[in-house]
């Protein structure tokens, strides 16, 4: 595949790894780098990168797995919708296994609820057009990358007057989550690998507070192994030179200002919520989006009477500590025992982008004393 294979080239990756080893040795100390985006976590494990890195370079996995941060109460709300209001519930594939208080949407489906997997919100709108006698609700979630398509779908629904369609909005914003992690007590992160696709929408300028106020390098990266290795090298060079700046490794996709057309779409349809509950991280101010009142006909939270119960995360679950990078997946009390991909307790174990699922499925058999994977 063109534009993909080049970024998985072994020789090019080996060159970057050599450079990383040499700068890493010069630094001569343990370096903790958080990749914010779940897509990066997936790339790291899928390509077996931890085993290739020098011992003093450690990736910790941030909150950027959109499926992982959806709280149980929101899953229960849509489950209530599909079981009691007889709606067709459409959502992305890996969401259906996220546990709510009384089980996942996949289990609801097994009991007869009409849960369907779609590949984009427009697919859900298509179902609404085809099945005019049903009400179709799209469970929307994700960071800034998946928000513009949801906005475009709501605008299309309004333009065409599709009345039997609504969105249950769980879209979240990346910067409040980064700030929550920076402000967490005992935080010891040296630098960040910035999200790629999110940055394509919002631009790299929005992260300026990270180097300015927190003195930490922030390098936006693409999703292929060569991208990540190059971003890692850029971070290490910044650390060696005592710099803290925003740098853009993913310049083939990401610009400083982002995609203004997409930003305008999002602005037109959504507004920032005062508070939103994140699984594992708790309530974070101004961290999520809601459908604007002028589009309330397509807002499932307005159209339906939802229980809106706020639930504590499962007590045994340490997803919060994992999402903040304070614990490695295997250090969680229930990792691999009470919580497995077959029977997840915490959502980090559900999505392939979740740190725990990635670690469980792709981790090698040997664990070093510091929790990194030996191969």
């Amino acid at each position: 595949m063109r534009y993909v294979d080049e970024f998985r080239d072994r020789d090019l990756c080996t060159d970057r790894l050599d450079a990383i080893r040499s700068v890493g040795a010069e630094l001569g100390r343990h370096v903790k780098i958080m990749e914010i985006c779940g897509g990066h976590t997936h790339t790291i494990y899928r390509n077996g990168l931890p085993g290739l890195l020098p011992d003093n370079i450690e990736f910790v996995h941030g909150p950027g797995c959109p499926v992982c941060v959806v709280p149980m109460g929101r899953i229960d709300d849509v489950r209530h919708l599909v079981e009691n209001d007889g709606v067709v519930l459409c959502t992305f594939g890996d969401v259906v296994r996220v546990p709510g208080r009384n089980g996942s949407l996949l289990e609801a489906k097994a009991k007869g609820a009409d849960v369907r997997i779609v590949y984009s919100p427009m697919d859900a709108l298509d179902i609404a057009r085809r099945e005019a006698d049903r009400v179709v609700v799209f469970l929307a979630l994700g960071f800034e990358t998946t928000t513009p398509p949801t906005a475009a779908t709501i605008l299309r629904a309004r333009a065409e007057g599709v009345a039997n369609f609504a969105v249950h909005c769980n879209h979240v914003l990346v910067n409040p989550a980064i700030l929550a992690i920076l402000e967490a007590p005992g935080q010891s992160i040296d630098a960040f690998v910035g999200p790629g696709h999110v940055s394509a929408i919002i631009g790299t300028g929005t992260y300026e507070y990270v180097p300015r106020e927190w003195g930490k390098p922030f390098v936006v990266s693409g999703f292929e192994p060569l991208d990540l290795l190059q971003a890692l090298e850029m971070i290490l060079v910044q650390l060696r030179e005592g710099r803290a700046e925003i740098e853009n490794q993913y310049s083939r996709v990401v610009t400083p200002g982002g995609n203004s057309h997409a930003q305008a779409l999002v602005d037109e349809v959504f507004e920032v919520r005062p508070h939103f509950e994140w699984r594992g991280l708790g309530s974070i101010a101004s961290s999520a989006l809601a459908v604007r009142p002028e589009f309330s006909d397509w807002d499932a939270e307005v159209r339906f009477d939802l229980p809106g119960v706020r639930l504590e995360d499962a007590r045994a679950c340490q997803c919060g500590e994992i999402l903040k990078g304070a614990l490695k997946p295997w250090q969680c009390k229930v990792f691999g025992t009470g919580c497995t991909p077959e029977h997840p307790i915490g959502s980090c174990m559900v999505s392939a982008e979740g740190a725990c699922a990635a670690y469980y499925s792709y981790g090698s058999q040997g664990l070093r004393s510091d929790g990194t994977v030996a191969s």
Binding site: R10, G48, R97, L106, V118, P225, Q331, Y362, S364, S375
Partner: protein, 358 residues
């Protein structure tokens, strides 16, 4: 940090070998996807009730000893697919080849099959005739006779048009001994052609995706392939057809069953560019995508090249390749040596591969 933990964490390979338990309160689609949930259903529930020695071997068929010297292989499989016709195959063809292939990878010469149909009221006769004709044509291609059958009709709304069950019997050649127990370090893993074609073709044929692609299912009989393989590599240890769950799942089963470690080489995996691209777009790993006309085999190191050569001469075997090695270490676990030189575990999925959100 919540302080250091005194006990050493159980290694992931130990966890991967845990015996499955059924904790779900009801059957979900995951229980039929050929992954961990299905293994849990078999071992944790069905085998508890009626697990015979033959069943617990969890092979594609059972070897039956007759009063004489002859050994039979017996297998059964049920088929549902949406849509019923897709590029390269159909429900009727799948139903025959699925059972025939299970016999063939056991090393047997497939001879007889049964066909049982569960029909839903209202199912169009024209469609039924098409399914029946496909079954007849596939049986003739595979050289098996349909010798017994059954037909049931369920009320409208109680079935998906038509469900097909087939069972099959074949003869096992004298002296042939295949199985996970014969696999030893140094052996090579061979696959008979491009992986992921069937699953991708069906996914695209459903027309639910915003893109299309020209991918045909590999739906077909593997009897010629297994015969050629056994002839070219008489020391062949083990064979499987990597259907639901794909190459990854059968390798994981082999590793668990033999206690051997398997190391697959990512760059050696034969995958069509269109299949790779479709999987890439959906966030699905082609290692887990179903095949319906492929063989995975473990052969002795010194027979690997002749095995691949023999397969490549046959229709459907053009892309045959050595894709991995049986390793001394990493016992019971499948590792993938990635294109960039890293290593990762290839674990069984819980259920169906689900597209990732972004």
């Amino acid at each position: 940090m919540s302080g250091t933990r005194a006990e050493v964490p159980r290694s992931i390979s130990e966890r991967l070998r845990d015996r499955p338990v059924v904790r779900d309160r009801a059957v979900t689609s995951s229980h039929g996807a050929g992954g961990k949930a299905q293994a849990a259903l078999l071992e944790g529930l069905l085998f508890e009730s009626y697990g015979s020695d033959e069943l617990r071997r969890e092979e594609d068929g059972a070897v039956l000893h007759t009063a004489g010297a002859e050994r039979l292989v017996f297998t059964t499989d049920s088929f549902v697919v949406t849509p019923r016709e897709f590029p390269g195959g159909s429900l009727g063809r799948l139903a025959v080849f699925g059972t025939v292939n299970d016999l063939a990878v056991m090393g047997a010469d497939p001879r007889w099959i049964s066909v049982a149909l569960i029909l839903e009221e209202g199912f169009a006769m024209d469609e039924l005739r098409k399914v029946a004709d496909d079954i007849a044509a596939a049986a003739s291609e595979a050289g098996v006779a349909i010798v017994t059958g059954d037909t049931k009709v369920v009320e409208r709304g109680r079935g998906d048009g038509v469900y097909v069950n087939t069972a099959g019997i074949g003869f096992l050649p004298e002296g042939l001994d295949l199985g996970a127990h014969r696999v030893v370090p140094g052996d090579r893993v061979v696959v008979s052609g491009n992986i992921g074609d069937h699953g991708t073709a069906v996914l695209l044929a459903r027309g639910e995706l915003a893109f299309a692609g020209d991918v045909r299912s590999d739906c077909g009989t593997v009897t010629e392939l297994t015969r050629a393989l056994l002839e070219a590599a008489p020391g062949t240890r083990w064979m499987r057809d990597p259907t639901r769950g794909g190459l990854a799942s059968v390798c994981a089963e082999l590793a668990a069953g033999s206690g051997a470690g398997i190391v697959l080489n990512e760059t050696a995996l034969p995958i069509r560019p269109t299949v790779r691209a479709a999987c890439e777009l959906l966030g699905i790993d082609p290692l887990y995508v179903a095949n319906e006309g492929k063989v995975v085999a473990v052969v002795p190191e010194d027979e690997a090249d002749s095995a691949v050569e023999a397969l490549r001469r046959l229709e459907g075997g053009g892309a045959a390749a050595v894709v991995g090695t049986v390793a001394e270490d990493s016992a019971g676990v499948v590792l993938l040596e990635t294109a960039v030189g890293g290593k990762r575990v290839v674990d069984q999925l819980v259920g169906d591969p689900l597209p990732r959100i972004c």
